[in-house]
């Protein structure tokens, strides 16, 4: 994965994992790589990898079974929620960008319709 050095690494990996869950590449209840393997997969610091799992657990997107590892949440509602959350984020960024270019709401809608 190509990292952007203006955003903390752990956030970029968290977003990547979220996208994988939303896209269905990671399914509810699926076992995730160990912290060490996650570090190798993304070529990141092992302590950062552990922190990523801690954050994902706090957000209830994954859970740890003692001695067995970390798993994707089985709560489909949660998956739905992060999907909406990320969509909202993209939309806001898009709207903000367009407004900065001087487009009005009506113009943005019109352009979007033409594009879609």
């Amino acid at each position: 994965m190509q990292f952007n050095n203006t955003i903390p690494i752990y956030m970029q990996v968290i977003n990547d994992i979220k996208r994988e869950i939303i896209a269905g590449h990671l399914v509810p209840g699926e076992k995730l790589p160990s912290g060490r393997d996650l570090a190798l997969k993304y070529q990141i610091n092992p302590n950062t990898a552990n922190r990523i799992y801690k954050e994902l657990e706090t957000e209830e997107l994954c859970f740890t079974k003692r001695g067995l590892g970390t798993f994707v949440t089985e709560n489909k509602e949660m998956v739905h929620m992060i999907k909406n959350e990320m969509a909202e984020k993209f939309l806001n960024e898009f709207i903000e960008g367009m407004k900065k270019l001087g487009f009005t709401s009506e113009e943005i809608i019109k352009l979007l319709k033409e594009k879609l």
Partner: protein, 229 residues
């Protein structure tokens, strides 16, 4: 495990390589030793490896001055190649195996394969990139407690660079510390816990990368530019 330097200073005949450096290296962490050429990174590593003594100050490993005992647990990879020209790649492994109790010949062989180095290759025929990969394989085949790698990514193509980073990450464990010197900050940012910025023989800034980032609201590359520009 801990490596601790207290107010070390190193003077050569005419020049002062290290003015005053106090650092604590703890196990389970990966450190980047950052700074332009001539800032004192290599001298610090040589002192920590027990290859040269500080003119002033002290350096200890687990409370004991760095020396014969610490060399058994500290693996140091210098910037210059350290093998004799008559050796082939396999000989380098044998040589290391004789020298270091913690050397793992199987790990060495698997690293050679990863780095695409054949055992029969003569070291004198190696390109600089191949020699760099051989140094990495020999150093990281040791089961040391501290690894000090001086410029491991210098002169290496992107594909080999990824393999070297993977190998470094495989070796980084809870009971081990890694110190990697580089002037390629952005290559290291994603794999390190701590950044140590060295400027003219002094520690200019040291801290956890995420904390530095948050406190200064700058990427590590930007911090580097602010410090050295």
């Amino acid at each position: 495990m801990m490596l601790e330097s207290k107010n070390i200073m190193k003077k050569y005949m005419m020049t002062t390589a290290i003015e005053d450096m106090s650092l604590t290296i703890e196990s389970g962490m990966i450190y980047a030793l950052l700074g332009p050429n001539g800032s004192g990174k290599t001298t610090f590593m040589k002192i920590a490896a027990g290859l040269t003594k500080p003119s002033k100050g002290s350096i200890t490993y687990n409370g004991i001055p760095v020396g014969i005992q610490s060399k058994k647990e500290i693996a140091y990879m210098p910037t210059e190649p350290f093998f004799y020209s008559y050796m082939n790649v396999a000989d380098v492994g044998k040589y290391y195996n004789d020298f270091f109790e913690d050397f793992d010949i199987e790990r060495y062989n698997s690293l050679l394969e990863r780095m695409e180095l054949t055992p029969k290759l003569k070291t004198k025929t190696l390109s600089s990139g191949m020699a760099a990969k051989l140094k990495i394989a020999a150093t990281l085949a040791r089961d040391a407690k501290i690894y000090m790698l001086d410029e491991p990514l210098n002169g290496i193509d992107v594909i080999a660079r990824d393999r070297i980073i993977t190998t470094i990450l495989e070796n980084a464990k809870n009971d081990k510390a890694m110190i990697i010197s580089s002037h390629l900050v952005d290559e290291l940012e994603k794999i390190i816990d701590y950044a140590i910025f060295i400027k003219t023989g002094r520690v200019e800034l040291v801290g956890n990368v995420e904390e530095i980032r948050e406190a200064r609201n700058q990427s590590i590359v930007e911090v580097y530019k602010t410090i050295y520009a």
